[in-house]
């Protein structure tokens, strides 16, 4: 009963956030100064008729919120013939509009690229989580030792490293040995099969390592501090007093209790999966969502940006929701509040 309430409340909150994001996402690209058509057309010589036709093609000739002129004329359905209603209707149909630059469906563009980013970020995260948890645990157990100091320094260093800087350094070091750009060697045939995927894997090495290094620091620090907190609890002392082996104390008593903050941080990081790779994808020319956004910003391809922002916001909202729900399962105290 209580848990049901908690879950409903969290889902409701997520939906409200989503609605706000939908409106904000629409508004964001309309309050920018300048005429978007000026951004789509590239030739100074294009006639005004042609400019108007483009404007109509992209629905930019319609009023933004409501057509008040048509309301005054008593044309009620016509009143809603606006950019905002078109945006909402299309959204519910899964239609995110058409890219200014390539005239391709934005949803198609995003779908094509999203898995590439997911593969990259997931791979890096898995590496980072494994290393982070192990190193954090060891550092906490050997608190105050030279090993702990070493791990702590390394963690702080990696956490503080700017992603693009680390990426460029790795790129220069590895250049000539590993592919430094792209997802696959151009023209590699066939476009599936083992050779292809091995080639993709080779291209993944540098971006994955870069991202993993940057993430690991954070995981180590969180893991170390939460394990340290647990280790100071009485029940650990009791476990030690019972004569349990170190490994069991750590595994059954410390690790389990220290997982709570880790779950949160992992869920949140995964929420940023989609958007978190902009820098890495830019340095290594990885054709994922991050680079799509980077290019869309450069070309002012508003429909693409709008779609990417939406995807980003939705994934963060969902990850947050999941974290909340996981929390209530992992820690019974949470739902009681």
């Amino acid at each position: 009963m209580q848990r049901g309430n908690y879950v409903l409340r969290k889902i409701g909150f997520a939906l409200v956030t989503l609605a706000a994001v939908l409106v904000f996402n629409f508004l964001l690209f309309r309050i920018l100064p300048g005429d978007p058509v000026k951004l789509i057309i590239h030739s100074p010589r294009m006639t005004r008729e042609a400019q108007d036709r483009i404007r109509a093609n992209f629905g930019l000739d319609k009023p933004i919120w409501l057509d008040l002129e048509r309301l005054a004329e008593g044309d009620i359905p016509g009143t809603f013939d606006s950019q905002f209603t078109a945006y909402l209707v299309n959204l519910f149909r899964g239609d995110l509009g058409i890219s200014f630059a390539t005239r391709r469906d934005v949803s198609e563009l995003l779908a094509e690229r999203v898995w590439r980013t997911v593969v990259l970020v997931m791979g890096a995260n898995v590496l980072a989580i494994l290393i982070g948890m192990a190193a954090g645990l060891v550092a906490a157990w050997r608190r105050g030792s030279r090993l702990d100091t070493g791990i702590l320094l390394a963690a702080l260093f990696s956490w503080a490293l700017p992603t693009f800087f680390l990426g460029i350094i790795l790129l220069i070091l590895a250049r000539g040995r590993l592919p430094i750009a792209g997802m696959v060697t151009p023209g590699l045939k066939p476009a599936d099969g083992l050779t292809y995927w091995l080639d993709v894997g080779k291209h993944l090495i540098l971006p994955t390592i870069t991202m993993a290094i940057v993430y690991t620091g954070e995981y180590i620090l969180i893991m170390r501090s939460s394990v340290m907190e647990v280790l100071s609890e009485d029940f650990i002392l009791a476990a030690k007093a019972k004569g349990l082996p170190t490994l069991r104390v750590l595994r059954d008593h410390a690790l389990k209790n220290a997982m709570l903050p880790m779950v949160t941080i992992i869920a949140l990081t995964l929420g940023y999966t989609v958007g978190g790779a902009i820098q890495v994808e830019t340095v290594f020319s990885w054709p994922g969502i991050g680079r799509l956004m980077y290019e869309a910003v450069q070309k002012r391809d508003y429909p693409v940006l709008q779609g990417a922002f939406l995807l980003l916001a939705v994934s963060v909202i969902i990850a947050n929701l999941l974290a909340d729900l996981l929390y209530s399962i992992l820690d019974p105290r949470v739902k009681a509040e």
Partner: protein, 566 residues
């Protein structure tokens, strides 16, 4: 119950993490075991399409890899605005550009026009075929031009201004009737690609705009498009039947990198052989020059940077800015060389008139630049009655209005430094112009009302002077137009109309030169720099580019280049 649930969860999570870790490790380590494999060996040598099989002389195809920051937006020429260099490798035009602003015969071998300049007759090359083998005679050329006009193809139909009738008199003769003479026919035709009816016939406007097939890139050009992975790479194969003969490079692989720096690194790593014209930042020139086997080419371009002076009669600029003496003084106070050093690390030229020096025939070389001379600037203002009576370092006019101007530019670290150079110079002649950087959209937003004083901005101009003059005509001040200075002058407009219909090049040049001189002395723009294009190539793999074109990959520059085979 609860405890066991969370326990299970933790176990599952750890299992999952371990499993995923294993998978990703396996995925990562296996390919690393095969180092030393070069990029070339991975490019498949298959695809021996029909005609290639009969040329077994070179078993190994010659491949050149190009690095760019953006391949293009679409293969469809009806709405593709990016990478004309690449498009010119697949399409042909009646007239081609061999050097910047220098036009030579393309699909048209020669042409003549009637005395009134209204009837043009083109002799079309014989034996030309599209990539699919269909013929390209005067008939198809006429069809293609008419198709362009009828469908109002927004990317290039506007070049066919005044075209009234286009007919093929026979297989090699194309006749064009104009409603009014045009002064720059060669230039206009250089932009109109000849497309195959076998692909486009029967499509309505919507079909055309939705056509995403690679066949959209089919033309009669030296290369045919065989593959394009958006955001990744594009592959061109040599056209065996190209009318100039099969190109020396069999395959071009264009690779897309997220940044110019990545292109430079790939160049040094040997992953690419040539960089595209937009790719190499000036900061990388030294690095590339120091690298082994890499040659850097510095070429003229049609890009200009200018200081726009608001000249609109209803603009919000102070009246003092309309005074020719103030404008002359500003010109004296700008250190162009310093801007070139700061913004282009030396890879640009000090500019005089609006038509860039790269268009050497049209560029008015008689105009002598106003020298950077602070003393002269001060003297000009002194003589015009601008004195610093209140001794605050800023001069005032007779009514006490100080010479304070708003100085804007688009955001960017380089622009910030350029504005500083300009503001420093102006401060030394008693003009205050505090710099403000804003988003480019905000700059555009100033336009309906011409609400600014000075803007540092730039243009990429055409290989014909028409556009450089058009942006100073009165009509272009309206919304959607391109006049960004607000300049409007009846005499100038009349000269613009004249040059547009003057078919004789010498006569047209005289008008264009006068117009440049007029603009130079009235100063709606103070043109600061003519930019240069920086490109790099592997000198151990290819040589012999024609640098006149201003772009190593431009058809006329790339086709003469010869690969070096070890």
């Amino acid at each position: 119950m609860k405890a066991s649930l969370s326990k299970q969860l933790v176990i599952w999570m750890i299992l999952f993490v371990l499993l995923a870790g294993l998978v990703s490790c396996a995925q990562k380590e296996t390919p690393a075991e095969v180092p030393g494999e070069t990029e070339e060996t991975q490019v498949p040598e298959e695809e021996p399409a029909g005609p290639e099989a009969e040329a077994p002389v070179s078993a190994e195809p010659v491949i050149m890899r190009v690095g760019t920051t953006y391949i293009w937006d679409t293969a469809n020429p009806a709405y593709g605005w990016y990478n004309y260099t690449l498009r010119y490798l697949v399409y042909d035009t009646l007239v081609e550009e061999a050097g910047i602003g220098r036009f030579v015969p393309g699909l048209a071998e020669s042409w003549t026009y009637s005395d009134d300049g209204l009837v043009w007759s083109f002799k079309i090359r014989e034996g030309v075929t599209f990539h699919d083998g269909t013929p390209c005679t005067a008939e198809e050329v006429a069809w293609s031009l008419n198709w362009t006009i009828e469908n109002e193809i927004e990317t290039f139909s506007f070049y066919l201004v005044n075209f009234e009738e286009i007919v093929a008199l026979d297989a090699t003769t194309l006749q064009v009737t104009l409603s009014e003479p045009v002064g720059n026919m060669e230039y206009l035709l250089m932009y109109v690609w000849i497309l195959p009816p076998s692909v486009w016939e029967g499509m309505d406007y919507d079909d055309i705009m939705e056509f995403e097939d690679l066949a959209a890139a089919m033309g009669t050009g030296p290369y045919r498009l065989v593959e394009w992975k958006e955001g990744e790479y594009l592959i061109l194969e040599a056209n065996e039947n190209y009318w100039r003969g099969k190109p020396a490079v069999d395959r071009m692989i264009w690779r897309e990198f997220a940044t110019g720096d990545a292109v430079v690194q790939a160049m040094i790593a040997g992953e690419i052989d040539i960089t595209a014209s937009d790719a190499v930042p000036a900061t990388a020139v030294r690095t590339l020059e120091d690298a082994k086997n890499i040659e850097v080419a510095i070429m003229e371009s049609t890009a200009i940077d200018e200081l726009i002076i608001n000249s609109h009669e209803n603009g919000s600029q102070p009246a003092t800015l309309n005074d020719p003496a103030v404008r002359l003084a500003i010109a004296h106070a700008i250190d162009k060389q310093q801007i070139i050093n700061v913004a282009y690390l030396g890879y640009a030229e000090a500019a005089t008139v609006v038509v860039p020096r790269a268009l050497d025939y049209w560029h008015n070389s008689d105009v002598q630049d106003v020298p950077f001379d602070l003393a002269a600037g001060n003297r000009v203002l002194e003589e015009a009655g601008y004195l610093d009576s209140n001794r605050d370092g800023i001069r005032e006019d007779a009514e006490g209005n100080p010479l304070v101007f708003r100085l804007y530019a688009a955001e960017g670290a380089t622009n910030a430094r350029i504005l500083e150079v300009i503001a420093d110079g102006l401060a030394q002649i008693g003009i205050s112009a505090p710099p403000t950087l804003m988003h480019e959209n905000s700059l555009i937003g100033l336009y309906p009302d011409f609400d600014f004083d000075l803007i540092y901005w730039g243009w990429g101009l055409d290989p014909d002077p028409d556009f450089a003059m058009l942006i100073f005509t009165c009509d272009q001040r309206e919304a959607g137009g391109w006049n960004d200075s607000g300049y409007c002058d009846d005499e100038f407009d009349e000269m613009y109309r004249q040059q547009a219909i003057t078919v004789d090049h010498e006569a047209r040049r005289e008008i264009i030169w006068q117009m440049q001189e007029k603009l130079f002395s009235e100063r709606p723009y103070i043109v600061l720099t003519y930019a240069q294009t920086i490109q790099a190539y592997r000198s151990d793999r290819i040589t012999g580019f024609d640098l006149e074109a201003g772009d190593l990959l431009w058809k006329s520059a790339f086709l003469p280049a010869r690969p070096i085979t070890q």
